[in-house]
Amino acid sequence: MAAVAIRNVVKRYGANTVIHGVSAEIADGEFVVLVGPSGCGKSTLLRMIAGLEPITEGEIEIGGRVVNELEPKDRDIAMVFQNYALYPHMTVEKNMGFSLEHRGASKAEIAGRVHWAADILGLGALLQRRPGQLSGGQRQRVAMGRAIVRNPQVFLFDEPLSNLDAKLRVVMRGEIKGLHQRLGTTMVYVTHDQIEAMTMADKIVVMNAGRIEQIGTATELYDRPANLFVAGFIGSPAMNFIPGPAMGQGAGITVGVRPEHFEIADGGLAGRVRLVEPLGSDTQITCDVDGIEIVAMFHRRVAATPGDTLSLRPLAGETHRFEASTGVRL
């Protein structure tokens, strides 16, 4: 186990800067998720931690040791790739023991570690199969098994669940979280899925256009987003943004209200119902308020039909104010 420090890291491809001097501290044993939209630089940052991508400026430290110049094999990390990257010509057992074999471990040690990992991940019956004979979820488990047999200081996950269907993703999410609780090893996990980030992370790093927008726990990001980007990115359905004057605020203000923080009460925003989506216990209603689309979520059944007019009032103390020009929270 080890802490990871990222200090003023810059990545350039020729004249194109994709990471603009980001800094973050990851504590020993912490589960940190790098989240952001496609192209925000999260995978590039992970690959720089892994040593698969050279660092243009700044430094990365793993376990108190600057690793900028070290090869991936010397960083004591293990990585799970998006497409699993299992060696197709080797059995599951061989795949899992491959790194140990190349580090000179004895056959007995390799067998012991592989069987230990296989037991944890329920892969015992699959050890003699090849990756081509496995389902997506099984391949995912083998990829994790390959990572844990080495007992590295840091695990790196690069969107490991994005190739799985929605149901399996939920299962594997739980398994990865469970693995972290069991092993206690530092994990850095990249995803573009904010639900994945919020459910798994001890700490979330929200990235956008090569910069870190905010670092915090899921509730911190949800309750006190630092800017309009984080406010809009974290939470599903996304936060509603309403120009200040419509909410009795100044022209330079944007007011944010989460969908679940509306109530139907007099004195609110008059919205014409466009869409009603019953979700069983919840009801999601999309309204048009003077040309602004507002999504409201109610934890009950609401008898409304398209064309009705509803008065949507934000709950007291549940609004967020942002400077419209910079997007910064006020």
Binding site: A50, L52, K73, A78, F81, A85, Y87
Partner: protein
């Protein structure tokens, strides 16, 4: 979605394929059957598709008139060395062009590809001069070194291997780097075993090229015991330089045998290999 063909349409398609196969199958059939016919019956009209008498003496004559066994061995070992050597050179070069970024790599690859555009007839005279100076005329070295290190087979094979390695997911190699492997070990333990279909295509293509080489042997080789098979076939002539058809066809049958065997057993891999590289015929 594929539509199931009706039995009648299937039958018609197979019939059409059989008709289309005639121009390819008939010459081979004629070669094999004529090699056991007496010479007087070879050009009889109408042609006899199945000989009514079998005369095996032409096979004995093949070995009696020339050191055919030695020539057979020459072709075998030259083709084997060229095949193995080309597989080694082209897989290393193809991997380097696909995976190692170095200044001018694309330009260099273009220069290598230009080798495909250069006809053998253009290069054979300077190569002969070089071989003469190096004392390699009437030896097998030019037939081994040229195709392996810079001839058309090695250039084409390098191209095939490069295309294959480009298509191989980079993440496999990155996973191997994280697992602790260096560049050569990644090539040897990950990339090369996965390149088996492409290597098979290269092997078959190179073997056939070397086995069928004709112009180069007649330029470089002068002694019958050094000849390779295509050159040896032309030597079965009578005193008036007319071909001794039955003997020549018997020798041709023996010459075609390994090629047929190789292709029958490896045709699936050959086609797979070319399909992997995007070079569908």
């Amino acid at each position: 979605m594929r539509t199931e063909l009706s039995p009648r349409l299937k039958l018609a398609l197979y019939g059409l394929l059989c008709v289309l196969a005639i121009p390819f199958v008939f010459p081979t059939w004629w070669m094999v059957t004529s090699s056991v016919k007496p010479i007087s019956q070879i050009f009889a009209f109408p042609p006899e598709l199945i000989p009514h008498t079998f005369d095996w003496s032409s096979y004995a004559d093949v070995f009696r008139l020339q050191p055919f066994a030695q020539q057979y061995w020459n072709s075998c070992y030259i083709a084997a060395i060229v095949t193995v050597g080309t597989m080694a050179v082209s897989s290393l070069a193809g991997y380097a062009f696909a995976r190692i970024r170095f200044p001018g790599s694309n330009l260099l690859f273009l220069v290598v590809l230009l080798g495909l555009l250069m006809p053998t007839e253009v290069t054979i005279v300077p190569l002969f001069q070089m071989s003469l100076k190096a004392g390699m005329v009437n030896t097998h070295w030019p037939l081994i070194l040229v195709p392996m290190l810079g001839g058309m087979p090695s250039v084409f094979s390098t191209f095939v291997m490069r295309q294959f390695f480009i298509a191989l997911p980079v993440e496999l190699e990155e996973a191997a780097r994280v697992d602790g492997l260096g560049r050569f070990k990644i090539f040897w333990t990950i990339a090369l075993p996965l390149a088996r279909p492409a290597l098979a295509a290269v092997a078959i293509f190179t073997f056939l090229q070397s086995w069928n080489l004709y112009l180069e042997p007649i330029v470089y080789l002068t002694s019958p015991e050094k000849y390779t098979l295509p050159q040896a076939l032309t030597q079965y002539v009578d005193v008036y330089q007319g071909p001794m058809w039955n003997i020549q066809l018997a020798a041709a049958t023996l010459t075609a045998l390994p090629v047929l065997v190789v292709f029958i057993f490896a045709q699936r891999q050959f086609i797979e290999g070319l399909a992997h590289t995007g070079l569908k015929g």
